[in-house]
């Protein structure tokens, strides 16, 4: 049965990832029928490449560490405190995720760049410094940690910590000794995702790092899209692959030693109003971080969308509407772009949930039942390997995948190059790892005996999944759905590559506007970005509602 569950994800992964990437890499390495393995030596011997590799790795590690440091308290606040506006805020922190990096870079520059807020106030400039990159990475990925870790955290039985407290552990010690180990797999999953994002960071590094900082991703893009130097790109891709694989192995190793079933409770019962000075300080601290680090850059964009040539007003929104009816293929009706984005997003989310959900279900069942250990069935190992492979799309350049699609999905029955479905499929490639990563820690934490309890009450395996796993994982599933949707709304690299031009998405439209001189183009880009933000927040908020609107069902 496990293999059955695995079939869909496997085919999806093979057709829409492994095959295109293998072909494009193969094309690069096999020049004129000859394997150009000498390329490795040449590329690896280049000190510039080594420098880029080193920078890529360390900035990713630093970004991940910084994100965890800043976002873990946030995860705690969202999981354990009840405060007004929490749902809205939970949606807001995910908004950065959907914004095109060009837009974000611009907002960040307005804060930390020359003449930015920091510069005005204290004369501090962070642009072209690594700090701007790191902070922007935190900005993007705060939600990853808050939502994946916080999702599980809210379901942890608070009595576990109480047990530690009566054994003499202080609040922090109880957290470190009891909660953190329980959260371990979720933290690791979030860290892995953040690392992969920042490892493959493109726009942020380009805009905020200036030409002096470059990641492997940037190099691959440049070699592929600008120079058409496929051999070099292939070698770089393989280097990136190797690094990602090593990381996945490390992740699998640490997680496997930590995974255990946990006492999970209904999340709606664990949040309390903050109690005591410490907790209020933590809440306000988190709110401040969110305000400064996440809301302020977004607010800059909103402000600009209203700052028309004749003072504040809706002029850009209005011209956006007028432009849509103009006699030009340049102008994009915002409603159309919005609709395209939502349609792609819905399709991509559905695909990601289907594929990722099946994969997560199969991977959960692959854990040997508590009992005699020592025997690791072949199939289990196979699935474990697959677990890691599913993460690979996050570690592979969008341009590689895009070019791969171009040269592989061009023949029947897979002539999808101009198909509408290609976009959601490509976007789902990024969404699937999200779904798997957010769901697995929770699914694996579900006590197997709850499933047994359902089985002895007559539930078939499918019913067990629906009645036990699904309610438990519902939260994670909605988090995952939110991410898959946000990723799709915000995805740019692959979308711009393969989206049909008559169906641009909001980010594509924004980028198009930014690519042209003129006040109105810029203002309209800001206005569209604002619309994008509102839509994203609205969609996530709607998802939140689904989450809480379940009650005592029979």
């Amino acid at each position: 049965m496990r293999l059955g569950l695995m079939a869909v994800p496997f085919v999806f992964f093979a057709v829409f990832f492994a095959y295109p990437v293998a072909v494009i890499v193969g094309r690069g390495l096999k020049d004129g029928g000859q394997w150009q393995l000498g390329r490795f030596g040449a590329v690896l011997g280049d000190p510039d490449v080594l420098h880029v590799l080193w920078f890529t790795v360390w900035q990713a590690a630093a970004s991940t560490a910084l994100t965890l440091l800043i976002a873990l308290p946030g995860a705690y606040v969202f999981a354990r405190f009840a405060f007004p506006g929490k749902q809205l805020l939970r949606a807001v922190v995910a908004v950065p995720f959907v914004l095109p990096t060009v837009v974000v870079g611009s907002a960040f520059l307005a804060l930390v760049g020359r003449g930015g807020l920091l510069d005005d106030l204290w004369g501090v400039r962070l642009d072209t410094s690594v700090w701007a990159i790191l902070l922007a990475h935190v900005f993007f990925n705060y939600a990853v940690v808050v939502r994946t870790v916080g999702g599980l955290w809210a379901q942890l039985d608070p009595r576990q910590e109480e047990a530690a407290r009566v054994l003499g552990a202080g609040r922090f010690a109880a957290w470190r000794k009891v909660t953190l180990p329980a959260l371990g797999p979720a933290v690791a999953a979030a860290a892995l995702m953040v690392f992969l994002f920042t490892f493959t960071s493109f726009g942020v590094v380009q805009i905020l790092g200036g030409p002096t900082f470059s990641t492997l991703e940037v190099e691959i893009y440049r070699q592929t899209a600008d120079f058409l130097d496929l051999p070099t790109a292939a070698v770089l891709t393989l280097i990136q692959f190797a690094a990602v694989l090593g990381l996945l192995a490390l992740h699998a190793w640490t997680v496997r030693r930590r995974e255990s079933t946990l006492r999970l409770v209904d999340a709606s019962r664990t949040a309390r109003r903050p109690h005591g000075a410490g907790q209020w300080a933590l809440l306000w601290g988190t709110l401040t971080v969110i305000a400064v680090l996440l809301v302020l850059p977004l607010a800059v964009l909103v402000e600009r969308s209203f700052a028309g040539p004749d003072g504040f007003g809706l002029v850009f929104y209005k011209t956006l509407r007028d432009a849509a009816s103009a006699d030009s293929t340049f102008a994009v009706a915002p409603l159309d772009a919005l609709w395209n984005s939502l349609a792609y997003g819905a399709a991509a989310t559905a695909i990601a949930l289907l594929v990722g959900g099946l994969a997560a279900a199969a991977l959960t069942r692959s854990r040997p039942a508590a009992g005699p250990s020592g025997r690791t069935p072949m199939i289990t190992r196979l699935l474990r390997g697959f677990d890691g492979l599913l993460m690979l799309p996050l570690g592979v350049s969008a341009v590689t995948v895009g070019f791969g699609f171009l040269i592989t999905l061009d023949k029947p029955p897979l002539d999808l190059r101009a198909s509408w479905w290609l976009v959601p499929l490509a976007q789902a490639l990024v969404g699937v790892p999200f779904v798997v990563r957010t769901m697995l820690p929770v699914l694996r934490a579900v006590d197997g005996r709850l499933r047994e309890a359902a089985a002895v009450l007559g539930a078939s395996p499918w019913q067990v999944w629906r009645e036990v796993d699904l309610p438990m994982v519902r939260r994670a599933l909605l988090v995952a759905a939110g991410f898959a949707f946000a990723v799709s709304l915000g995805e740019f690299g692959a979308t711009v590559f393969i989206a049909r031009p008559d169906q641009p998405t909001l980010p594509v439209a924004v980028t198009r506007l930014l690519g042209r001189a003129g006040e109105f183009n810029y203002g309209q880009a800001m206005a569209l970005s604002t619309i994008l933000m509102v839509v994203c927040a609205g969609a996530l908020l709607a998802l939140e509602r689904i989450r809480t609107d379940h009650s005592g069902e029979f």
Binding site: G115, I207, S419
Partner: protein
């Protein structure tokens, strides 16, 4: 539905134009062609200019469309060498100046438009500082312009590359490195993309107002008209100007893709692209100059644009031969 669009290229009622992100046209103009020829036009836009060309090359065995629009002189050789195009002499080629016809013998590609990459300046800044704006490449080295110019990374931005090629054309293959050393010493700032340079760093753009602090930027000769576009009432002059002695000419070509499913339609489309109707529609849609001599430029261009008399040029073959190496040299010279 799935695959529905994939097979439509085989349908001879549709002609597919493959281009880059910047391709635009008036809907009415396209509709007129469709009505007249009976073909339905489908446009595929595939990333920026470089990406679009590379994608076309990679998929040349099974092209995505019939006509390619938008390969410029810096990339032309790559496309020609890859054998991307089927020769076709479009109607109206005679009205195109000879110096734009870079594949005159083969007719594999047809020049459709041209534009110039030049340094733009912020008029307000120079008036305010009672400074004359620079006009030539050499002016940029002068101490009064120290720290005023922002340009783009040649490796990641096509205006950046064009500007570098302009300096090479002006100072020769031997002299350009020296020029850049001096330019660097004079405080040139490099950013990765045009968007960043123009929207964020340049003080003259509407977007950069209040935050950009560089009054000189490498941009298009058509940027000043764009700044005026949509303004009501129309200002006396554009807020920005063009340093006419710093220009490098980019000529954009179109061609019939080899293996096109609808070759007949492709030919008709190519003719249309060079027709006076389309050529006159182009400037306000793509902010480029029409290739046809007899195409009338819009008032916006004539009033706010600059006339570039002698832009720098380089032969496509020279560019093709040296490009990667020049970019590398430039990077290690300027970025390190």
């Amino acid at each position: 539905g799935c695959g529905s669009a994939g097979d439509s290229s085989a349908d001879t009622k549709t002609v597919t134009l493959v281009s880059h992100d910047s391709f635009n046209a008036s809907k009415s103009v396209l509709a007129a062609f469709e009505k007249e020829s009976g073909y339905k036009v489908k446009v595929l836009r595939g990333g920026d200019a470089g990406e679009a060309v590379n994608k076309a090359i990679l998929s040349k065995d099974n092209p995505q469309g019939d006509v390619f629009f938008g390969i410029d002189n810096t990339l032309l050789s790559r496309g020609l060498n890859a054998g991307l195009f089927t020769p076709y002499k479009a109607k109206g080629l005679d009205s195109v100046p000879a110096d734009l016809q870079l594949d005159k013998g083969g007719h594999r590609v047809t020049p459709l438009d041209y534009g110039d990459i030049c340094v733009n300046y912020d008029r307000a800044y120079f008036t305010q500082h009672k400074l004359a704006p620079p006009q030539t490449f050499d002016d940029l080295l002068k101490p009064q312009y120290k720290g005023l110019l922002v340009t783009e990374n040649s490796a990641t931005s096509s205006p950046g590359l064009a500007f570098q090629l302009g300096t090479i054309a002006a100072h020769g293959e031997a002299g350009w490195t020296d020029y850049w050393k001096k330019l660097k010493a004079n405080g040139v700032e490099v950013v990765d993309s045009w968007e960043q340079a123009y929207n964020e760093r340049f003080s003259g753009s509407a977007a950069g107002k209040g935050k950009g602090d560089k009054p000189l930027v490498v941009s298009y000769a058509s940027s000043p008209p764009a700044e005026v576009m949509g303004k009501n009432p129309a200002p006396k002059e554009a807020p920005t100007g063009v340093a006419t002695g710093t220009c490098f000419q980019q000529v954009e070509f179109g061609g019939l893709l080899k293996g096109a499913k609808n070759e007949k339609g492709g030919k008709a489309l190519l003719d249309f692209l060079l027709s006076k109707t389309f050529q006159e529609d182009m400037p306000l849609q793509m902010f480029v100059n029409p290739a046809r001599k007899d195409a009338k430029e819009p008032e916006l261009f004539t009033r706010y644009g600059a006339r570039i008399d002698k832009p720098a040029t380089l032969a496509p073959e020279t560019i093709a031969k040296n490009r990667d190496q020049w970019v590398k040299q430039w990077s290690s010279l300027v970025l390190k």
